[in-house]
Amino acid sequence: MTKGSPLSGRDPKDSERTTINVTDGTLIPSRDEGGLLSAWNISFFGAVGLLVALPLISPDPYLRILSFVPDGLIATFSVTLSSIFFALIIGLFAGLGRVSQNKAINRVSTIYVEIIRGIPLLVQLFYIYYALGPLLRLQGPPAAILAMSICYGAYMAEIFRAGIQAIPKGQMEAALALGMSRATAMRRIIIPQTVRIILPPIGNEFIALLKDSSLVSILAVSDLLRRGREYASTSFRYFESYTVIALIYLVMTLFFSRLVAMMEEKLRHRGNVH
């Protein structure tokens, strides 16, 4: 999970102190970080190379493993994409709640964020699937998506909140002075400007969620990790199975990191807006 989003530096209280900003983003290369870029190159092309070379060198078991796990890849992606979609919706509303002037809404949103961020994702998965299982009667995949959406929704809420608060106060004042309601001003003025700022941190959350989706293999979800475990436990090829699984995760996260970095750079070069 992203520990310090790039937005955290905008908090005036933070900027007075010396802070270090360590994020998942250390994996994310940018053009001015040549060392990191080459580290990315070595990791990414090394992993891709191994995934190609290993099955060629020893088809048994590597080619068998590679043909066994694609089902899991589909499950991993469908869980990740569905969760990020619902997490964004939850995050938008909870984030708006966090900046709401309505005390009750504000309190409820804040409590949601505090509770969810205080409980490990794995515990939340167990809770929804096992503890609330008799009540919710959900299959593995929907339970996994529900738990991950609720969990990541809280982190998304903080990103939306920080994004909204990063927009200068004058924007809301100008909109109000023009006769707009607060809701209209949010929709037409504040949120469109927020989207631009929060795209990179949301990209980071996506990568984090992709990695965390491996936790759902605990529930009855045949994701990438679970498929690897299934192969390993029938063939007793633990080393080979988990090596392939690790490499596939690595290739995916490095690929998406690069994508987020490119998006970030593009946004920066286009200047502020439009």
């Binding site: 004042e173 100008a174 909109a175 109000l176 002075a177 023009l178 006769g179 003025i189 502020n272 807006v273």
Partner: protein
């Protein structure tokens, strides 16, 4: 001339300690241009911002055209439609181009048709001398141009009164005149204006009355000619020595 804005005993305290307004009475007539000056922290911006309730008064009342701004049940959005405001920092919407900045509120708030709003927007751009900037983005404009767009944007709501909160304070000297010219034209057309500014050129050219505020109170008010040549109060004289 009839009274258009009526401020009575306005009191405002920030954070429970800083007294921004300590009982201000002010009435502005229709078509009158009133300039508010005073040292920083004298409460002049707070007074201006409470007219369209960007600041809420602790006590006292403000009426615009007989309608209460300060009443809890006031239809503040309707009042704001008729009160244009121009800010020190322009506050153009950076994600919208110039014409969209101007037409957004007329279409969204006043429910005007897009074509009608654009036609009116073009007229206003011509009025502020920026017809060629219709599709420009705010960040591509100089400060003076941005402020003129901001004035056009406020005028697009057909306001009955315009508030200017230090409209030229953030501008480089060579851009101040282009903004003041637009404001002077507006004053000549009979717009009711409440202006917080230290631009004495504008004061002489367009203001009907000058209000000097200090420590949350109105110290002195007079027409520009008497205000500058024979101020009554010591405090005013000292202030004028600093800025003239």
């Amino acid at each position: 001339m009839e009274t258009y804005i009526e401020i009575k005993d306005a009191v405002k305290t920030f954070n429970g300690t800083i007294q921004a307004l300590r009982g201000v009475d002010l009435s502005v007539k229709k078509g009158e241009v009133v300039l508010i000056i005073g040292p920083s922290g004298s409460g002049k911006s707070t007074l201006l911002r409470s007219v369209n309730r960007l600041e809420r008064l602790d006590s006292g009342s403000i009426l615009i055209d007989g309608e209460s701004v300060t009443d809890e049940n006031a239809d503040i959005r309707h009042i704001r439609e008729e009160v244009g405001m121009v800010f020190q920092s322009f506050n153009l919407f950076p994600h919208l181009n110039v014409i969209d900045n101007i037409t957004l509120s007329p279409t969204v708030v006043l429910k005007k048709g897009k074509e009608e709003a654009v036609a009116q927007g073009r007229k206003l751009l011509a009025k502020v001398g920026l017809s060629d900037k219709e599709t420009a983005w705010p960040e591509q404009l100089s400060g003076g141009q941005q402020q003129r767009v901001a004035i056009a944007r406020a005028l697009a709501m057909n306001p009955k009164v315009m508030l200017f909160d230090e409209p030229t304070s953030a501008l480089d000297p060579e851009m101040i005149k282009e903004v003041l010219d637009v404001m002077t034209d507006l004053a000549r057309e009979g717009m009711t204006m409440l202006v917080v500014s230290h631009e004495m050129g504008f004061a002489r050219a367009a203001a009907h009355r000058i209000i000097f505020m200090d420590a949350g109170q109105i110290v002195e008010e007079a027409p520009p000619e008497t205000f500058f040549t024979s101020p009554r109060e010591d405090r005013t004289r000292r202030f004028l020595e600093h800025i003239l």
